[in-house]
Symmetry: C2
Amino acid sequence: MNLKDRDSLIQKWLVEIKEYIIEQKNTDLNIEEKTADNDLVTRMDKSIEEQLVKKIRETFPEDKIVGEEGYGDDVKDLTGTVWFIDPIDGTLNFVMQQENFAVMIAVYTEGVGQLGYIYDITHDKLYSSTKGDGVRCNGQQLEIPLDLNLSKGLVASSSALMCKDQYPAVRKIGAESLGVRMLGSAGLETIEVAKGNVSAYIASNLKPWDIAPGLLFMEELGMTGTQFDNQPIDLLQNNNIVFATKNAHKDIIDMLEK
Amino acid sequence: MNLKDRDSLIQKWLVEIKEYIIEQKNTDLNIEEKTADNDLVTRMDKSIEEQLVKKIRETFPEDKIVGEEGYGDDVKDLTGTVWFIDPIDGTLNFVMQQENFAVMIAVYTEGVGQLGYIYDITHDKLYSSTKGDGVRCNGQQLEIPLDLNLSKGLVASSSALMCKDQYPAVRKIGAESLGVRMLGSAGLETIEVAKGNVSAYIASNLKPWDIAPGLLFMEELGMTGTQFDNQPIDLLQNNNIVFATKNAHKDIIDMLEK
């Protein structure tokens, strides 16, 4: 199946997922803690991933799947075609607020991003990218954000980085910027970077499915995505990441390396 | 004019302001720095306040006005009827993002909140309160949020508190909660408390117009709004504030006093 047809099919599946979430979200979510009281999984996370994995296996039996909830494969390398699935990114928001979460999917071939999707369900805004075609919101092309320096823009980051001192440079980076925004969803924060609402997103310990669509978005928008040490992001493990305009990225890496 | 008629009139004015903002927001904003490069004012802030002050003076010539941009009065006490106006709360977001800002109005009589409005223009959601009638979103009554403890909910706060160390307890409070959210608009963060999306909003150095509608919302929702030292909020000066569920408020004040 060519990329255009794959894109149409994935967009159709995402609309089905949106409808399922809206239909189900006021029912019992059957919330369980994973590693901590703010790391939750619901019946919905599992069920969405299970349905999606089933569809992918039926349509693309050769492909490999990296999924948050364990319905995918134990993927050891990025050869062939690999899917990354985060059924609900921002599960804590989903549980506490019933809003401010995203569904994320990405497709990579031989380690290269081909398709990426971040769906802000609450506002019914689907951000998507097909390699070489930029990033779109509900089909409409996003403009390339201004290449602002750190001090001329806002940055998004995470509670863990702001409240704990594992990477104290991140608070200095926040103070150097015009201000910090925190939404509690890697997907929504990536969207903020893609729209130019913030010039950078800085986060620690993100999983491959948190990063995969956004990394393609950054490439398509002439922006940069790396690890804290400026090394390429590794989609087979957890990463500390900086998604940013080229100029803000340089400023941030300089401050992280000090 | 009775409260109900005042409420109808203010809601009509707010719709006119919304239409004006939508019509004007892609024009030249004529941005100026006030106290720092992240403390901005635009032509829009000034023009909205000027228009609103004119309408208030025509209709309610006896009333006093406390406005962010200086078109109001030099108010020394809260006797009589006092209006609080923030024409665009979250001006930095308005300038950088053209979204994530609010228009705020409150009316107090003899120091007691009578009417409060926070209008999330981007999403066309007007949160309003008439004393004794709870808080409504586009006319629909909000439910009273669960009275969660600090450790069972999210909290909203500000860049200044997270990135600088003037009140280090606030980062500990953030770490004690399920997570911190930062939106860059006191109005939008107050809405998050009112909806129960976060259990507390903690911010320093807020101006009377940043606080006045939210303080009424807290009273109407059985929640608590005080200064950091648990003293009542003083609407004649800047305040460090905690808006929170009763339980989270107690937990937060305990940690601030340590």
